[in-house]
């Protein structure tokens, strides 16, 4: 069983909403990534998203873009990302890892080779930002045969036919993008979330994670009341960017995520009643 599925069923039983931090591999330094991931788990992360550095991150805002550029400048390519996943897995065999990135580095490696290598390293899910469901049919077989879920973004504007297409291909969870814009651009409107998530659930029978625009504990708590998972990226990456040592990065992750976790746990999760 894929770790993502196992983790979400555990969470459902526990009535707990998943906290999913995003960090860019190799940022602020290659040495920091594995300790940062472990620190995130200790601070209450249930799944982790690891960004694969790319030179042209068209769908990301300045914070993530800067992180990718810094990571690339320090030599973090696909090989290094997979090594980081393997290193993480030596001490953590349970926390699901989702790789998030862009299509070209994966195409260059070859989808089949990439899927095999990622699976061997211990990757559980893959989100290719610039590969919507429309273009993803060819990937599907390769990823499935290596038990890697393909995660899709859905937006308030995603049409029913595209939702249905994504539903056929998606595994693990769906990533609901709550705002118009790039990562880290604006704050999300929590009030509009509940009805939208309901629509997504009607089409796709998977847990719904919400991301883009969540930057503080109160927002995370509000989202946790309606979603199955809360993704935090830019706000965390921005703080990591200022860290000058691995130790500092570890402290920053803990101090940033712990209050988010606490706020989420104090908010009333809706997912429990759905379990019944």
């Amino acid at each position: 069983m894929n770790r993502i599925d196992r983790r979400f069923s555990e969470l459902k039983r526990a009535g707990r909403v998943a906290l999913v931090p995003y960090v860019t591999a190799g940022h602020p330094s290659p040495a920091a990534t594995v300790p940062v991931l472990h620190a995130a788990v200790k601070a209450g992360a249930d799944l982790v998203e690891l960004g694969m550095p790319f030179s042209d991150v068209m769908a990301d805002g300045p914070v993530i873009q800067n992180a990718h550029e810094r990571a690339l400048a320090q030599g973090t390519g696909l090989d290094q990302v997979l090594e980081m996943v393997s290193a993480f897995r030596r001490d953590d065999v349970d926390t699901p890892i989702i790789l998030m990135g862009y299509a070209n580095p994966i195409e260059r490696r070859g989808v089949g080779t990439f899927a095999r290598q990622a699976s061997e390293a211990g990757v559980d899910g893959l989100l290719i930002v610039d590969c919507p469901a429309d273009e993803a049919d060819d990937l599907q077989g390769q990823l499935r045969s290596h038990d890697i879920h393909q995660i899709f973004l859905v937006a308030p504007t995603t049409t029913d036919s595209r939702l249905n297409h994504a539903a056929r291909l998606a595994g693990g969870f769906v990533y609901y993008v709550s705002i118009k814009g790039v990562t880290g651009a604006a704050s999300l409107d929590v009030d509009s979330l509940a009805p939208m998530i309901k629509q997504v659930r009607a089409r796709i029978d998977l847990p719904v994670a919400v991301g883009f625009g969540i930057r503080e504990p109160a927002q995370a708590a509000a989202v946790a009341a309606v979603a199955d998972a809360v993704v935090i990226g830019s706000a965390l990456v921005d703080r990591l960017d200022r860290c000058e040592s691995v130790d500092e990065a570890v402290v920053v992750v803990r101090e940033f995520l712990a209050p988010v976790r606490q706020a989420m746990d104090n908010s009333a999760p809706v997912s429990v009643e759905e379990t019944a």
Binding site: A59, E69, L72, N104, E107, R108, E135, T158, T159
Partner: protein, 407 residues
């Protein structure tokens, strides 16, 4: 050849509804951008069949742009090379000095028809930025132009021109600080402000519908040239030559000739300091298939799939990808693609200026350089039609700098 003929027969259906030219093209974008592309796709399909829209576009192309642009028989050049006759399609005589205005007139009118009040654009050499700022001024729209910081430096005159036209020019400091980074930034703006903003993309690259739409708006070049050849020369040319960065002037010229299989089509890429090294921008000659800026196409990347920094003397060709339809034309063999170096382009720049009294843009000088080479190899009864896609005023500073001249 059978395969090529088959592929050409299927061409009417290209691109398909998802924007694919064979394996190329498509919509490789974040889900957040999809609704904007779908809205644009629907509007484009609708208005390209709307007689009132088309009539207004034709009026603007005639009276605002100054179309049709003439064919010019370059007799001095022809004598100089002693081979095929060299005919130039004078897109340099258009309002704002390049073919780019054909596309911005079309997209500008489309933006207005869709009720958008704000247009954004990316630009390399500045020609597309100027053409966008021009149409925005004419239609009374707010205009923001994204331009790589390196290009802002190289093309100071065009930057000032855009500001005079009322546009805001944003210097993009990320990545290689050139065209590809400007395109990334424009996409970010669009996805954030999609309700009131229209993105006037300047070339036949990017996600569907841009490659097909920008082609359609530039195909006026080839339609005119084809009719002019028949009227003025009583025949079609033997070869078409055009420079290729993203590929909009080339596809504009090529497209109406695709079924005339006796007409050779040659795209000229920027070989920069040589195709054997890394300092060029020749994605069709020296690249491989990947995904960039929303479509699958030929591109220049390193072994880990990172997009490479490119080099060309001309900012407008300095781009690591290429329009997907060119990728398709290359693979099915209907067009071929060659490289011309900085030095050769510069020579052609001087040659055309001195020989014919026409100063070409450095981009177009690449096409001129190859056109001369090709004409020299062909018999005198043949005709090589070269697209002179833009004029060279904007490049005077670049040329002077290379020759150590300070003003």
């Amino acid at each position: 050849m059978v395969e090529q003929a088959l592929k050409l027969e299927q061409r009417e259906a290209l691109p398909d509804l998802g924007g694919h030219f064979g394996i190329f093209g498509g919509r490789f974008v974040s889900e957040t951008l999809m609704p904007a592309l779908e809205e644009l796709d629907a509007a484009w399909r609708r208005y390209m069949k709307d007689p009132d829209f088309l009539a207004e576009m034709d009026r603007d192309l005639a009276h605002f742009v100054g179309r049709p642009s003439p064919l010019y028989l370059a007799e001095n050049l022809t004598r100089q090379v002693g081979g095929a006759r060299i005919v130039l399609k004078r897109e340099d005589l258009n309002h704002t000095g390049a073919h780019k205005i054909n596309n911005t007139v079309g997209q500008g009118l489309l933006a207005r028809a869709m009720g958008k009040r704000r247009v954004i654009a990316e630009t390399g050499a500045g020609q597309h930025g100027v053409a966008s700022a021009t149409i925005a001024a004419r239609l009374g729209m707010e205009c923001v132009v994204y331009m790589g910081a390196e290009d802002v430096r190289r093309q100071a005159v065009n930057v000032y021109r855009m500001k005079l036209l009322g546009a805001q020019v944003v210097a993009v400091e990320s990545g290689s600080r050139t065209l590809k980074d400007a395109l990334n930034e424009a996409m970010r703006d669009w996805v954030t402000n999609v309700d009131d903003t229209f993105y006037i993309l300047g070339t036949v690259a990017g996600p569907h519908p841009y490659p097909a739409m920008v082609r359609d708006f530039n195909a006026i070049v080839g339609r005119e040239a084809r009719a002019q050849m028949l009227t003025e020369y009583g025949r079609l040319p033997d070869a078409l030559v055009a420079c290729v960065g993203g590929g909009s002037n080339a596809i504009g010229l090529f497209y109406p000739f695709i079924d005339d299989t006796e007409v050779a089509m040659i795209g000229v890429e920027a070989a920069g300091r040589g195709l054997s090294g890394q300092e060029h921008a020749a994605s069709l000659c020296a690249g491989r298939v990947g995904v960039l800026h929303g479509s699958r196409t030929y591109l220049l990347d390193d072994d880990s799939g990172q997009i490479r920094h490119t080099h060309s003397i001309s900012a407008g060709l300095d781009y690591p990808g290429v329009g997907p339809e060119h990728a398709w034309l290359k693979d099915c063999g209907r067009a071929r693609y060659v490289g011309v170096s900085d030095t050769e382009a510069l020579e052609a720049f001087h040659n055309l200026t001195r020989t014919e009294g026409i100063m070409p843009a450095l981009e177009s000088a690449h096409a001129i350089a190859y056109g001369l080479k090709l004409a020299a190899e062909l018999p005198q009864d043949q005709i090589v039609l070269v697209n002179l896609s833009g004029r060279g005023d904007k490049d005077i500073n670049t040329v002077a700098e290379l020759e150590g001249i300070e003003f």
